[in-house]
Subunit: 137 residues, 2 copies
Amino acid sequence: MHQKKEIINKLRSSNLRPTKQRILIAKKLFDKKETFHFTAETLNKVVNRKGQTKISLATIYNTVEAFKKAGHIREILTNNSKSYYDTNIKSHHHFYDPETKKLTDIDYQEVILKKIPNPPKGKKIKDLEVVISLQKK
Amino acid sequence: MHQKKEIINKLRSSNLRPTKQRILIAKKLFDKKETFHFTAETLNKVVNRKGQTKISLATIYNTVEAFKKAGHIREILTNNSKSYYDTNIKSHHHFYDPETKKLTDIDYQEVILKKIPNPPKGKKIKDLEVVISLQKK
DNA sequence: ATTCTAGTTTATAATTATTCTAAACTAGTA
DNA sequence: TACTAGTTTAGAATAATTATAAACTAGAAT
């Protein structure tokens, strides 16, 4: 799917030097069929599975921040103490289960808004996110 | 508006012993005309303004947690590293300005949803929150 | 009223997530 | 091949929050 070349282009196009660490992290993030929800901690685990080349935690954080700024990943709203990120950068929504702390994507078309308020003066809407918290039935 | 008696009843009704600390914090939180958005830090400042009896930060955290569990306050979704709380416990929505990190209430009626997805099996919807992030025009 | 006890408060230590620092390293140009 | 700006790294620093355990107190029992 995502060959090394594509990944390198993606990095270059956002002014990120394609280092071996960034390429490896990008592979792990974007070489998935499905949307990937992660925290710095989980990404660190995935990237540094036994035997693989070691990438420092600082680089994990740096890269996540760089990818976020470049718009390759998005930060998700939760009321958890960790930051959650999503490889799905299309505007979409989430179910959040406070029990398991798991997020699930809700496709954009699954939520239709009939009315939204005007933003305050001097501001425009950057993003609109719906979070549906769940509980046991 | 909220006399001491009412506050004491509110505390008792949720099995919280009405201590002098809890009463004072409750006054600061609920004795307002408007909705109050706060973090542990801001609440600590409000409660411990010069001259007032000192309430420890640990108690601020304990009390916020207790009030949240009791349903007297709600935690708000943001992607900020601090936890934000709201004395408005009615279902409602927010504008979030990442620049100033300020939240503004959006009245419930200002957002109308035409379609929302079914929750996953075994789960029901606990809460639905819309967050509209802002940026400079 | 006095005593008792479980619940609460407190200062402080510990923990967790994240950011900073500054030295070592490397991609890519000259 | 050498250079330089960008990047990585280990580890220290910081920020927010939670845990600990000793002292205190509300309110029931005596």
